[in-house]
Symmetry: C2
Subunit: 201 residues, 2 copies
């Protein structure tokens, strides 16, 4: 979705700069703004009572965030955290409201994003039923590394994205390296053969 013209059509907006690990909003907070990511990377996480974290979505430049809660008219159901130094533009709810009225394609774009994200979430849900931890981890490696290659993903982040544990991620990665499917580079890694990775048992 091309939202890069947003700054031009919105009269006044707020700039936010986040360091790695800083929180944009917490689960349960009441939405006051809709955000637009200019540079960096943000992760959306759900943190349960017993402390287990689930990595729900990744936001990269030109992505909108905070929109789900705004359009559902609900408080945030998860916590947004910068995964690296990040610059964000905050637009007030009223401004977002106005943009919706003035630019019909704006709302339609957001509807499409929500519809696609719903598909993804539901397929991940189904994947937890019918895929092994190894398969989910392999798919997560492909998704995260190919879509966001600049980021050195930690085993923990990969685990939380694939709904597994960092030990299991480590084990799968060690196995994949032994079969020349990936190559570890320091704490980072590189995918050598996507097809083999996705078929790894």
């Amino acid at each position: 979705m091309e939202l890069s013209h947003l700054k031009e059509i919105i009269p006044n907006y707020k700039n936010i700069t986040l360091k790695k690990g800083e929180i944009l909003y917490h689960e349960g907070d009441k939405p006051e703004y809709v955000y637009f990511l200019e540079s960096g990377l943000v992760g959306l996480f759900h943190i349960s009572e017993n402390g287990s974290e689930t990595f729900l979505r990744v936001f990269s430049p030109n992505n909108i965030l905070g929109h789900r809660s705004f359009f559902a008219e609900e408080n945030y159901h998860a916590t947004s955290m910068a995964l690296c130094p990040t610059k964000i533009v905050a637009i007030s709810k009223e401004q977002c409201q106005n943009t919706c009225s003035q630019d019909p394609s704006f709302l339609k774009n957001i509807t499409r994003i929500l519809a696609k994200d719903l598909r993804e979430a539901e397929l991940r849900l189904a994947g937890l039923q019918d895929k092994t931890a190894g398969q989910r981890i392999a798919e997560s490696l492909v998704y995260l590394k190919l879509k966001y290659p600049q980021k050195t993903w930690t085993r923990k982040e990969i685990a939380e994205y694939s709904c597994s544990t960092y030990e299991t991620v480590t084990r799968l990665m060690t196995k994949a390296e032994k079969e020349d499917i990936i190559k570890k580079i320091g704490r980072d890694f590189e995918i050598l053969d996507i097809q083999k990775l996705l078929k790894l048992k």
Copy 2:
């Protein structure tokens, strides 16, 4: 969402009658219509290669369905099946398009539905990480039976909704009955104590 006025604002529509178990659309099909449920109950299921099924969503009277794929401009990612005799109104994509343009609240309503469903899907995803099978089953019993009390849910349906197996559902229900938390009535059941059910270990 109140969509019951849809028949009045849409000039021509198609009526569909489904028997229990009949399919409205299959995963992979290209959307030609957006549907509106008049009476009955429809389930949305994802069926994986190895045959495991995941019960994603329930649609009841006045619900719209098929909208996710339409607004994402994607083929269906799951299969819709009638859970009991059901009457549906089909609206062509063009008519849906027109309604969006003419009635701004229509699109906004759908956006809200998608946003709420995304929350639900993501929280279920997180729940698979941090809740036991028993907890998920208990929550599914509460959700399905309280929201759709008229339907006799099978153990299999409950299992697919909670991402578990019908044997595990049976075991939990037997346990819950021994503790006077639910009461089995033939193949159906009744919840006697919601709070206890949700806390059942």
